[in-house]
Subunit: 311 residues, 2 copies
C-alpha cells in the first residue's frame, strides 16, 4: 500500500484498512483535504463529523458553541492546506419533535464560524438522530496547496499560537472547576488559522497540518507523509499559561498550525505582524522517521494522541 501520510494508532489502522479495500476507487485519502484540479485552480474539500457525547457535551457548550466549534474544526483543515474557504455543507442530526430551535441555534453557530473566515453555508441535510450530529464538509480553493508530504531534512519546524489551552479547559471541565473567559473562548470558539495558513503557504511552507490530534501525533503524520523525522525538544514548545509542555503536546483540538519551512526562513516577525499570532520554531527535520520529542535531551516514548477509538 502506498504511503498514506498517517502515523500510528488504531483509528489510522482502520482508515488504512478501508483505503486498502477501496483500491482504485479511493484517491489521495490521508491528508487534511482532498485536492481536485478544476480549471486554473485547485478545489480543496474535507469532511469532519462531531457527535454528542464523543466530540462535545451539551452541558459544557451552548448550542451556538456546538455549531461554531464543529465548523471551526472542519475549516481548520482548509487552513492546514493554506486554502481560501468557499463554504460548508452541513448534515445536522437532531432528536426530533421540539428540537427545531436547537437546530436553528446550532446553525447560527456554524454561520458565525463561517462568517469569521468569509465562508458561506452552501447546503445541508436535516435528519433524525438520538444524539446530536454536526457533520461539516468544507470547500475551498488553493493555487498551491501545502500538503503533509513535502518536509525535507534540514527544514525547520514551526507552530502558530500556543498549545495546551484546549486540554486545560477539558481538564477543568471534567474536574468541575471554573476558568477564565480567555480559556473559555479558546476552547468553545476556536479560530481556524485561515490567514496564518495562507501566509505560511505563500512564504515557502513545505508541509503543514492543523493540530487536532495533539502536536505529538500530528507531527508523526507529517513525518510519515514526508519520509523524514521531526526532532522537537519540548523546551521549545510554546504553552498556554499554566500548561506544561508534556500536557501541551498531547492536547487535541488546538487548531493551531504545525508547519515545516526551509532552514533559511526567518520572517517570524512579519508573520506576527500579518496575523497577530506568535510563530515559534520548535524543532527541525532530519533523516529518519517519526516524531522524536525530547525533554532535556532524553527521547520520550511514543505518545498517544487524542483518539476516538480506544481499542
Amino acid at each position: 500500500m502506498k504511503n498514506l501520510g498517517l502515523g500510528s494508532g488504531p483509528e489510522f489502522d482502520r482508515i488504512r484498512a478501508i483505503i486498502g479495500r477501496l483500491g482504485p476507487d479511493a484517491s489521495g485519502i490521508g491528508d487534511d483535504c482532498a485536492v481536485l484540479p478544476i480549471g486554473a485552480t485547485n478545489l480543496l474539500a474535507s469532511i469532519d463529523c462531531s457527535i454528542e457525547g464523543v466530540h462535545f457535551r451539551t452541558d459544557w457548550l451552548t448550542e451556538a458553541e456546538i455549531g461554531f466549534r464543529a465548523a471551526a474544526a472542519a475549516l481548520s483543515d482548509l487552513a492546514a492546506d493554506g486554502a481560501e474557504p468557499i463554504g460548508v455543507l452541513v448534515s445536522l442530526g437532531l432528536s426530533g419533535p421540539g428540537s427545531g430551535s436547537q437546530g436553528v441555534e446550532i446553525m447560527a453557530g456554524v454561520g458565525a464560524a463561517c462568517r469569521a473566515v468569509s465562508a458561506q453555508v452552501l447546503g445541508g441535510d436535516l435528519v433524525r438522530s438520538d444524539k446530536i450530529i454536526v457533520d461539516i464538509c468544507v470547500l475551498g480553493t488553493a493555487e498551491r496547496p501545502v500538503r503533509r508530504a513535502g518536509a525535507q531534512a534540514g527544514d525547520s519546524v514551526w507552530v502558530t499560537g500556543t498549545l495546551g489551552g484546549a486540554g486545560l479547559a477539558l481538564s477543568e471541565l471534567r474536574g468541575g472547576r471554573e476558568f477564565d473567559a480567555a480559556l473559555r473562548a479558546r476552547w468553545a470558539r476556536p479560530e481556524p488559522r485561515i490567514k496564518a495558513g495562507q501566509w505560511l503557504a505563500s512564504h515557502g511552507a513545505t508541509a503543514m497540518i492543523d493540530i487536532s490530534d495533539g502536536l505529538a501525533q500530528d507531527a508523526g503524520h507529517i513525518a510519515a507523509a514526508s519520509g523524514v523525522a521531526l526532532d522537537i525538544p519540548l523546551e521549545q514548545v510554546p504553552c498556554w499559561p499554566g500548561v506544561n509542555p508534556m500536557a501541551a503536546v498531547v492536547s487535541g483540538e488546538e487548531y493551531e498550525l504545525l508547519a515545516t519551512l526551509p532552514q533559511a526562513f526567518d520572517d517570524a516577525a512579519k508573520f506576527v505582524k500579518a496575523t497577530g499570532l506568535p510563530l515559534t520554531r520548535i524543532g527541525k527535520c532530519v533523516t529518519g522517521s517519526g516524531a522524536r520529542l525530547t525533554l532535556r535531551g532524553l527521547v520520550l516514548p511514543p505518545v498517544a494522541g487524542f483518539q476516538h477509538f480506544d481499542e
Copy 2:
C-alpha cells in the same frame, strides 16, 4: 423570506427556520445541489446523511448495501442537476471496538456505487457513534446545471423509469414477506440516474429533481421553486409491477428523475435508446401553484411524502 424552492411539511419548515436565522451567511440553499462557479464551469455539491434505524436497518441490508444505498442517494442529487460526478467525501460513524470490518464493508459499498458512475472516494472522517452513520458529500461539475426553478406554464412533466418499487420493497420487508431479485436490487442498490440527468439537461430540461420524498412531494418542490402548478393525472404515472399509482406517488427513495421539458419535446425514444430507461410524460405545467394530482379528473387532497420528522 425569499422563495426557497421547498414545498410544505415540518422538515421543510425547520429548514426554512434555519435559513431565516443564517441570513446572508446562507446562499442558494433549498435545491438539490449548491452551485459554485469555478473557472469556466460550475462546481456542484450536496450532502446526504443516512442513519441506522432512521434510513436503514441492519437486518434488512448487508453492510455493503448500506454503503451503496447511502452513496447512491447522495449521487442522485448530482443526477438531478444534470451534473458529472467527481467524487464523494464520507463521514462514517461506527460503534467502536470490533466494528473495523463493518467499516470496510460499508465503504466497499460506497466505492461500488461510486465506481458505477466514475466517481472517486476523495476523503472521509471516521468517528465513534452508537448508531451507524453514513454521511456523504458529493461533488460534481455541470456547465449548465438544471435547477428546481425554471419550469414554465406550458412545459410538459416527465419522469424516468417506473415508480413504487422502493415503497413496495419496504412494505414487503415490514410484513416479513420475501420478494424477487429484481425488486431487491431496485431497493438495495438503487442506481443514481447520472446519464439520464445529463441527457435531459442537454436536451432542454427547464427544471429537474430526483424523487427522494415521493413524486407528490417532489413535484411540489418544483412547483414552489418555479412558481407554476404541476398537473399530474395519476393514470399517466408509470408504476412498478404490482404497484398502484396512489402508492407510487408517495413512494420515497425512488431516485428516478422528475423533469419539465418544453411542450415541443418529443425525443423520448432517443432518451430510451441513450439510457435504457423509460421516459414517460405524466403531466403539464400550468399557471397556479402546487402539485395537483388527479384521479379520474378528481383532485387528490395534499399528499404527505416521506418524512423523517413526524410532528
